[in-house]
Homo-oligomer: 294 residues x 6
């Protein structure tokens, strides 16, 4: 297990307090489903990656049904560049021609996902690397809104069967965001935040956790001290209006809102750079990010 | 939940460390049986009593099959004295005539045990108060060695069936140390340490925890800093010879030795006066008492 | 097994007739729940006690889910008197101060109930001694109607879970009438007839059997030949009006009426002094007491 | 239910005694297998037939796994005679040519067996009429010893599967003694006592009951008062030598001996003419026939 | 296995085509119920009989829950004539006096049905010969319409329990068309087409297959080339009106119509004289008879 | 479903013969495990690929537990060449440096395997794309014998758990031959024939089918008419000695031999270029390739 801090220096009373606080949460979440969207900087540092994986494995040890949904933009760009092909983005989305789609599929489903499985094994867990082509788990159609981005898809259906098979057998599904076209042939590149949200919805997840590169939603985005620990769905429009949620956070927060509306219990926006932020958020009374509730 | 300390003052890193350390233990002990012998001073203070009960309930929440075996000497003496009957001890054991036996049975099985069930309910758990007469769970014969003590019994058989029924259904059995005579009629007063050990043996328990009024075994009994954290069975005779184990601790340690020999995984001698000593001993790397291993 | 009479003197034809008659009843009641309220004189004679226990064990052998609910007034008075404390009754109910409540709990849950378990074991059955504090099985509030009687409670809820756990595992629950206060702390003394009725209701029992010191309801209470074998619920008010039901029988019959109204199949008022009255009433065409039907 | 005698005239004490005695037997035999060979005079009187069927249905009601194996000599002879064909016997066995075999099969499997099923339905039970051709349940070869009797077979194998299917589903198998030849084509006529014994052996039956036209084995065959209630296997040779067992009883007793040797618990030779002899023998302390024990 | 043709002469491509076509049907029908009415000429030729039995056994091997309902007019007439009793028919139905009924029951349930079981065993399957008297499976009342035919019954109830018991255990029920009278005593002779239809209805069968002596329904009954492969329920009245369905086919088609109306999936009228017509109809795209659909 | 041939032209008799022959095989293989090594030319033609996939899906429809193990040399070479990296072979094995290994993993686990899953979905089946990194399914160490080939591994352990999870849930595992290093970090490139054999062994497979580019083993390799339909293990050394097995077939046949020795039931060497060769080999009496038996 990866631990950045030793418990020897923690007083008996503090240890007892942390444990007494955590056990009821463990019981509460045991058997429940938690979907973690994992990407961005939290995936680039080896130390942070190990801490994230450690948290997920630890939760699965105590019965949480954990699902990891990952991205992999930098890795895709790397392979494309080695092939002498430039990455091209349209409105923030990667333009995905057929050749690019092959690379997206190979890198995500063949490399990033399977390597995460390997890390989970090393940390004492069990994982299986899946994508939308496995058992037609994620079906998409070509994205219609906005400018044409090629084989970028919009999810139209998630079939939870294979996820349940894996979870019931104690495996952590590691899902790569490649979808099966509804023509049964074409593969599509889909957005990881959206995929995580749709998967959480289809599983009736207790929690959707988005690991990001920010502390959470802050009343003053420049001051982490103004972090909003918890917000109800009804407060979100006001936060957008007041400029608390801006830019790239808007589609992310939209994802959260849709997930909650479709039955996910809670969504957490966490700072992936804080080691063990998942454990702390889930198992202690005072969280470290922003929780959105119905 | 009873908590003597707030977690707010514990740093994120410390919390993460405590939790990361605890979760593998929780997984390890989930589904395993732990027998706690509860008596002495840890049963006289209301605060400590609540902390002990809280620990046991918390462990049961995360799947530990916890069994409580309790004594109740002071309560028995109290009722006897209210009846104008003096308590009489022979070689450390209560002389138990028929009238005394009735009081022992009433106080332990009717009052102390059932009140512990009530406290467990209050703490969020489920309990059932049993004694050796329930389903002939504990059978004893009249104690033969030493001076005659009346209806003091020696356990000859523990039938685990009823304990399993309760544990399988999620109940914490609270066992009063009254045994069924092998004539099917007489009831016997049995020693609580021995009863706990025999029950742990019959259940193939992972752990037997003796809550006592001392810190554990100390190389220099007057200096708690010399606490022996862990001792193998083979080291025990030396500890007795060297005077580390003396007086009333000798029969207790004998109990531990027999339990280990008959298959109990670990025995812990803990200081019942330290709040939450059970949680700390079971779920952190650095224990607070003495652990005896095979 | 306790038998007061040998079968040798019974003709083959008579034996065949009794058995042919009994087997369909045995099939009918196998797997069904029967709650027996056991108290009064039927509990004072050792012979009768053994015959009652024998009947209950025999029924449990052939699959009846039997529950015993017992009282113990004389035993409580005995212990109180040995403590130099006089029993005091208010309107037929024992005035129960805190000290008395402790004695009620100790005597019923610690002595009378557990001793019945011992007898059941001896007769070849399996039993477990429970009270309202076990798994918060019976919850009560302080009795509000009538004169103040101290800690005398009125049942507000019966939780059948623990009874089912015991019954499913083949144990006969022996229930002492001590209830958990709804504050989670106070214990209350509750009426045994009422407790038996409420338990029968919560279990959806096929039968509630009240063992009493009278033959049953008789049209002329002084003439047992006028015994009413069977009465419908609608006939009860007339029987009260006509003086068939009087005095202490009125609350008992009220209990029966409430039990039937809340779904219990049949209530039987039996003479506990007739040996094996339970077997005869349940397994032959011609009963020995009064059966009340919906 | 068929009852030849009313229980009204039986005293309460007698009823209690019969029931107290019977219930432990009922528990003991519940779930156990009892094979009844039914034939002879007990099958000719309608009253006796109803009493026998009633006993079997009653036992099945309380969980006994009852199997009926029947003969039907008189019925076979009747049909043959209506076809103008004379019955011919060789050494006590019916000479069975092909035409006769067709009649044996039709009468036993089509008429006598199915009619018994109908009676069992009427008595409140469930039955299914089987023979050795169903699921190749009984396999035979042509009888080799003694004079040639045509298609008379010797059983070489009983396959219990179909019997278990029926018993597990609560049906009473009614078995006609027609066997499948080991060539897969020919059908054989087999002896009913032997078939019952072989079936009892294959099922590991608790009891094999042979309903006969005699009271049982009597030391003086002319005096029923000398009935032998119970005999051990080792006593049988002596009984044959002393002329207690003679004539047609010798092959019957041989059957019993083989059944016991191959694991059947007890064999009972009962007088089929005594109404309800099965119930009395099985559920009371004092039997009415001869029991052979290992 | 009986095979009239070797596969050696079938090209690889043809074999692959037949198999590729068959496997989805096998999956579709596995676990589904198919009732086959078997009678007429298809029962008189030994070769055809073996081919029919082979088909049914093969289907049961791959998980089809097959039920056979058979007639046996010629066999009944044969036995009656050997008894010197003439068969008498009234409006196409056998006049069934008591003596005749005994013969009907004996021949169908004792001979024809059990012999089919024997053939099924020989072909590698498992079968059990049942009739309406087994477990009161088929209940009938005396036929009221038309001229009096004696003990000819009209089915009023089919109890599927025993059929399910047999099918669940992997046995093919072979049902003889003898019914239990609703008085619990009389047995009735019932029409086999009707019995098959009622059984199919009670089992919610996927298919009812009537093996007949004609090719199917033909637009020009004299020209098999005009075979109607498939007809919807709504087309049937037209077919009767146009003389496509005439004479003895009218009641048969009525049976089919009722079966479909009461929930049977498909009814097939097949030519029992074509070897393996059942396999070909069920497992290839181009059937050989007429299929009636809802 | 893909079908290269219509059944219309196949005579009824031929269809019946093929089906009668196939059904017992279907029953025999239902629930059994068949591992198909799929590679070479059979993977390059789209038509053949669809026929192979169709066969596997059809078998899985009738209950065969099918596992596909695939290679993908040409696809790997293609991506390497697009990266400007030349493929290099050492003694027939691809020299695999770290960069090449990344490509091997991406192409096999991310592209070839997942695309096969997509095809299986299209053909009506369910599949999941796995590799040795999923649940540490295949563990390897660096290949020691022969010349150094970089990250080419030798399998030391196959963990069947994840395969069983997928198969039990009705999924066809499609396995890419990438193994987890026993250091828990490095990934290795492993030979597909060997991987298929080891997987078949770990699953106790009924059959291992190697799809190749030759007709099977032929006594005269130049004459397909000399095809050896079946060979026992003991005949193999002779075949090598006599030059029947030569060159690249030697390691393949070695694989087969090891698989049989370790418990696989049968190994088939089939010509992947014959459409539906798997169905024909498995479900007809006359196979199309060479079967090796113990």
């Amino acid at each position: 297990m990866n631990r950045l801090y030793e418990t020897e220096n923690v007083s008996l009373a503090a240890r007892a307090a942390v444990l007494s606080e955590a056990l009821p949460y463990i019981r509460k979440f045991s058997g429940k489903t938690v979907v973690v969207k994992y990407g961005g900087n939290a995936m680039q540092s080896e130390d942070i990656k190990r801490a994230v994986i450690s948290d997920i494995v630890l939760l699965s040890l105590v019965g949480v049904r954990a699902v990891v949904v990952h991205g992999g933009g930098p890795e895709i760009s790397g392979v494309l560049s080695r092939m002498g092909k430039e990455s091209r983005f349209v409105g923030g989305l990667r333009y995905t021609d057929g050749e690019t789609m092959d690379v997206v599929q190979m890198v995500l489903a063949g490399k990033v996902g399977k390597d995460l499985c390997s890390l989970i094994t090393e940390a004492g867990g069990k994982a299986v690397g899946l994508c939308g082509l496995d058992g037609a788990m994620i079906t998409a159609v070509r994205r219609k809104e906005g400018e044409d981005c090629g084989l970028v898809g919009e999810i139209v259906r998630v079939d939870r069967e294979l996820l349940d098979v894996a979870l019931d057998a104690g495996y952590i599904p590691v899902v790569s965001t490649v979808a099966q076209g509804d023509d049964g042939v074409t593969a599509y590149n889909v957005n990881a935040d959206t995929a995580a949200a749709e998967i959480a919805v289809s599983l009736g997840a207790e929690k959707l956790i988005l690991l990001t590169d920010i502390r959470g939603l802050c009343r003053d985005p420049k001051d982490e001290e103004t972090l909003i620990h918890s917000a109800e769905l009804s407060e979100i429009p006001g936060l957008v209006k007041n400029g608390v949620v801006t830019g790239g956070m808007i589609p992310k927060v939209d994802c959260c809102v849709r997930a909650i509306r479709k039955g996910v219990g809670r969504v957490h926006i966490l700072d992936g750079r804080i080691p063990h932020s998942i454990l702390i958020e889930m198992l202690t009374n005072t969280g470290v990010g922003t929780m959105i509730t119905p």
